[in-house]
């Protein structure tokens, strides 16, 4: 490793003349190799993907370890990699608060929903919410909550990809978005969940390898983490190692914490992965694998961020000059440490990350429409296999076009922060209904619809009126809602709405089914 690292460092010296934003052929070739490999997988998966169960759930044939890697792949998005390293580079310790918050959702997912979710559902989390309630209203509400979450999440990924491409390949933002859209659509349309899963697995391995290599190179250059911190303090002051503005206000801190922790339990593209494994036991094991991999990633990613702040010539000012959100810290650090080849590798990995995550999100968004609304509501569950797969593919194309179009107006926002907002919607709209439907006997159809709609409208409304959107996007001078992250209010309101409305509109049939449902929830009897 040492001589390899030195070789990379010497390459960095030669790369002096390279300017960011020029077309980088090494980066392009790495990128094309990765895309080629994933398309070969898609071709292989396409031959195995004919039924709707294969399209949405990879035929339930994915092993626990594979699913763990794919979950980690879905979760370690551009937000985690580019966003957190950038936030640590620019703001220091506050980036670590995001990293811890993003991990603690996994144990909560395990304790509260993973196994019941696997046992009760078929393709989407709405299957669970609607299990014993009236299908039409609950499916429509769940699809609204699911699609909103996935859209916000996708916007963050698209912002990441646009910046990255601008930096790496010298291609205009719009073209970059279109390339992401086309390749991602190929994965989803032809390969379905099986291809998407394998793309995630490959990407998770590449990303973990890339970040490990960056960390090792930083530590070779600086010494121990202690030496790195000393250098950070020397350059930017002790403040970088102290919690800053992010969690100064306790309500703000708890609100962000709730969103990061419980938002995971309402992310449609993550929840969907639990249907790819054969049973609840495999679902449980896959959470443990994912938690281990993601935990490792979040422990080392701050080193990359601090490394970027002290090792990149020009430091924070240089990072900020490239992208106001700080999202390019990790790729620029790679250029500094390993020259254009390493920059090419890291950029290709980051790009593959975005492609894979957007593919997973698109599949989740499309299935919310095609499975929950088209098959269950419009066709009253009488659609043929062929019609189901066709609807899923049409929805995929529509969602893909939306994803590309929405990537444009949100430029310049930190992607970690944007994803924080998506989590807030997930925690407010999807999680309360999902959880109450599993554990609370008296939860009724009206209660579910009220909970989802109150959570979705309140979180989106409060985000729109908060500083980020009201001031940052619309350009008003001050925000109407003081909280940056609305979760503490919107999630509580969603629970209250669900409870109050359920008590006011008791549903005897749903309560009777609750007992029958238990056998499936806890023993897996009758699970699909």
């Amino acid at each position: 490793m040492n001589s390899f690292a030195q070789q990379l460092l010497s390459l960095a010296a030669q790369a002096g003349e390279y300017k960011l934003g020029e077309r980088n052929n090494t980066a392009l070739s790495f990128f094309f190799v990765i895309v080629l490999i994933t398309l070969v997988i898609t071709y292989w998966a396409a031959k195995k993907t004919k039924t709707s169960s294969e399209f949405y759930a990879a035929g339930r044939s994915v092993s626990a370890a594979q699913n763990g890697l794919a979950l980690a792949g879905d979760y370690m998005s551009a937000a985690s990699f580019l966003g957190i390293s950038g936030m640590v580079a620019m703001k220091g310790y506050d980036g670590m608060i995001y990293a811890t918050g993003w991990l603690v959702g996994w144990p909560a997912l395990m304790f509260l929903v993973a196994e019941p979710l696997r046992n009760l559902g078929k393709f989407t989390f709405a299957d669970v919410v609607a299990f014993r309630l009236r299908q039409t209203p609950v499916r429509i509400a769940s699809a609204v909550g699911g699609i909103l979450t996935v859209l916000f999440y996708t916007i963050a990924q698209m912002v990441g990809s646009g910046n990255l491409i601008k930096l790496m390949f010298g291609i205009p933002y719009l073209w970059a978005e279109i390339i992401v859209g086309v390749v991602m659509l190929a994965y989803v349309l032809f390969g379905g969940m099986l291809a998407t899963t394998w793309v995630q697995i490959i990407k998770a391995c590449l990303l973990l390898a890339g970040v490990t290599l960056l960390t090792v190179l930083v530590l070779i250059k600086v010494g121990s983490p202690g030496d790195l911190y000393a250098k950070v303090v020397h350059d930017y002051g002790q403040k970088m190692l102290e919690p800053g503005a992010l969690a100064k206000n306790p309500l703000e801190a708890v609100s962000l914490g709730l969103a990061l922790m419980l938002g995971l339990l309402g992310l449609p593209h993550i929840l969907m992965r639990f249907y790819t494994v054969p049973d609840a036991k495999a679902a449980r094991k896959s959470v443990l694998y994912a938690t281990g991999l993601i935990g490792y990633f979040y422990i080392i990613i701050p080193i990359v961020g601090f490394g970027a702040a002290v090792l990149i010539p020009g430091g924070q000012a240089a990072i900020k000059a490239i992208d106001a959100g700080g999202n390019m810290a990790a790729p620029v650090l790679a250029l500094t440490l390993g020259g254009t080849p390493f920059l090419g590798f890291i950029a290709a990995v980051a790009f593959a990350t975005i492609l894979a995550v957007v593919a997973g999100l698109t599949l989740a968004g499309a299935s919310a429409y095609s499975h929950d609304i088209y098959v269950n509501v419009i066709k009253k569950n009488k659609a043929t296999e062929e019609e189901q797969v066709k609807a899923a593919k049409t929805a995929t194309i529509v969602f893909g076009v939306f994803a590309v179009a929405l990537g444009i107006p949100f430029k310049g926002q930190n992607v970690a922060f944007m994803v924080g907002l998506a989590f807030s919607i997930a925690a407010s709209a999807n999680f309360p209904a999902l959880f109450m439907s599993i554990v609370w006997k008296r939860f009724s159809t009206q209660g579910a619809v009220a909970s989802i709609l109150v959570g979705a409208l309140l979180s989106v409304g409060m985000i729109t009126l908060s500083e980020t959107v009201w001031v940052g996007v619309f350009g008003f001078s001050s925000a109407i809602v003081p909280l940056k992250n609305p979760c503490v209010i919107s999630m509580t309101a969603s629970f209250i709405a669900g409870i109050v409305v359920s008590l006011l509109s008791p549903d005897a049939q749903a309560q009777a089914k609750f007992e029958d449902e238990k056998l499936r929830t806890y023993l897996g009897v009758g699970a699909e």
Partner: protein, 114 residues
């Protein structure tokens, strides 16, 4: 798929009575309540760990800023500690479920087939 609960009954009509018996058996009730007890205890530990950490930031800033090395602040090992504890709690649940929950599930499922 419109109504999965009914599907179960339709596929296994003869078992319906014993399904009710199992659901009402003390063993099954104990299993369900144990499952939630374990989950809730672990969740409580997770909440204490994570929100304890989050609230230390605004309420005990001096503690978080206190130096444990030359420049390293208390906040750094605490942040890493939260991640490690979260993983350990997940592992505890998996070990419990594999060793206690699953055998009991298999036993109850075996009774159903009779």
């Amino acid at each position: 798929m419109a109504d999965t609960a009914r599907n179960v009954t339709r596929q296994e009509p003869k078992l319906h009575k014993s399904v009710t018996e199992i659901i009402e058996s003390p063993d099954f009730k104990r299993l369900v309540s144990l499952r939630w007890t374990v989950s809730m205890v672990l969740l409580a530990l997770l909440f204490v760990t994570y929100y304890g950490y989050i609230l230390l930031i605004p309420y005990a800033p001096d503690f978080m800023k206190s130096k444990i090395g030359e420049v390293t602040t208390m906040a750094i090992p605490l942040g890493i500690g939260v991640i490690v504890i979260a993983f350990v709690l997940t592992a505890v649940y998996v070990v419990w479920a594999n060793s206690s929950y699953d055998p009991e599930v298999e036993r109850l499922k075996g009774q159903l087939r009779k």
